[in-house]
Symmetry: C2
Subunit: 202 residues, 2 copies
């Protein structure tokens, strides 16, 4: 038998801030940063506006909290599958699998992160939190291409840094889904592999 009188509306600071960040992420995905309102967030969480300010003092701090929340999730996902000892091509394929998983598991991250990247142009504090994610992601591919050239997976004349930019650009463009005019993810990934793998007659 549940005791209604023990139901509390309180959450620890950390839990509450997590709830706030998640609600804000959802709302940014729905309405963009331009439509983000502190009252809407409070309502979505189920708290009073003053409670929201108790936990997160300004709107600016709120956006930073969202950025940190996304950074932490992104980093948790990046550690899921170890890469040690695999060839360049194998690692490339694992990165593609990871990408597919991210798109499936956290679709809202896909929408919110670019909004924060855009905001980073004007807000160095946000940039300091999220831009390293992009750098890290790109560095992963650069390392994979360097390895793949050395192990014979990829063409010798591949420029690892430029190739990394091509791959991250193509994948992030795909994840944005602005337009229905796009190749399927399978076709895109297959073409990305063909673009760099070493020709058998080389």
């Amino acid at each position: 038998m549940s005791d209604i009188s023990t139901i509390s509306r309180r959450e620890s600071g950390e839990d509450r801030r997590r709830s706030i960040a998640l609600a804000a992420r959802t709302l940014i995905a729905e309405k963009g940063l331009e439509g983000l309102r502190t009252r809407d967030i409070a309502q979505r969480v189920g708290i009073n506006i003053a409670t929201l300010h108790y936990h997160v003092p300004t709107k600016e701090a709120l956006v930073a909290l969202v950025a940190e929340s996304l950074r932490d999730d992104f980093q948790a996902q990046a550690q899921r599958h170890p890469r040690t000892g695999k060839s360049g091509l194998e690692q490339l394929r694992l990165e593609f699998a990871d990408f597919r998983e991210t798109v499936t598991d956290t679709p809202e991250m896909i929408v919110v992160l670019p909004n924060l990247f855009e905001r980073a142009r004007r807000d160095p504090a946000i940039g300091a939190i999220v831009l390293p994610l992009y750098d890290y992601w790109r560095q992963q591919f650069t390392d994979i291409f360097t390895l793949g050239i050395a192990d014979g997976s990829f063409r010798r004349n591949v420029d690892p840094a430029a190739a990394a930019c091509i791959v991250t650009g193509a994948l992030s463009d795909h994840w944005r889904g602005w337009t229905d005019f796009r190749a399927s993810l399978d076709a895109l990934i297959a073409e990305l592999e063909r673009a760099f793998i070493r020709n058998l007659t080389d």
Copy 2:
């Protein structure tokens, strides 16, 4: 000798709306859509807020005006250099040259357009204006790859639609400039060519 008494503050509706659109574009580039204020636009143009509403009745109509303004500029630029009679690879190179020119000539378009693409998720009216631009751009590359396969410029196993997505993704990612971790435009373009050109021993 100039006659001061003939100086007027009036502009035709069309000229005024053009001024308003350009000011709004500049402000979106500076502050994002979330920081766009009708009074700021009016001030930037040098008119009263009521005058702005006289010409453009709502903020929503204003964003649509910006979208149309960008569409028109984009389309004007797309017609600059004819492509007829050139090989797939030559056309690809012309597209890259066009891209370079756009980035140089209208840097603010580079920032504003993606903001409108994002807004298009939530605002079908804006999407109807700007998303066809992306489709058109992508279709250009698809056609180029199709042609280039037929004329022997590109590998036979290139999937034109997927390759177009890769190129447009890589270029648009580059133009965004979120991070300093990127290849130079020259290196990116060179790698994009290597990704698709036909190997001499094929």
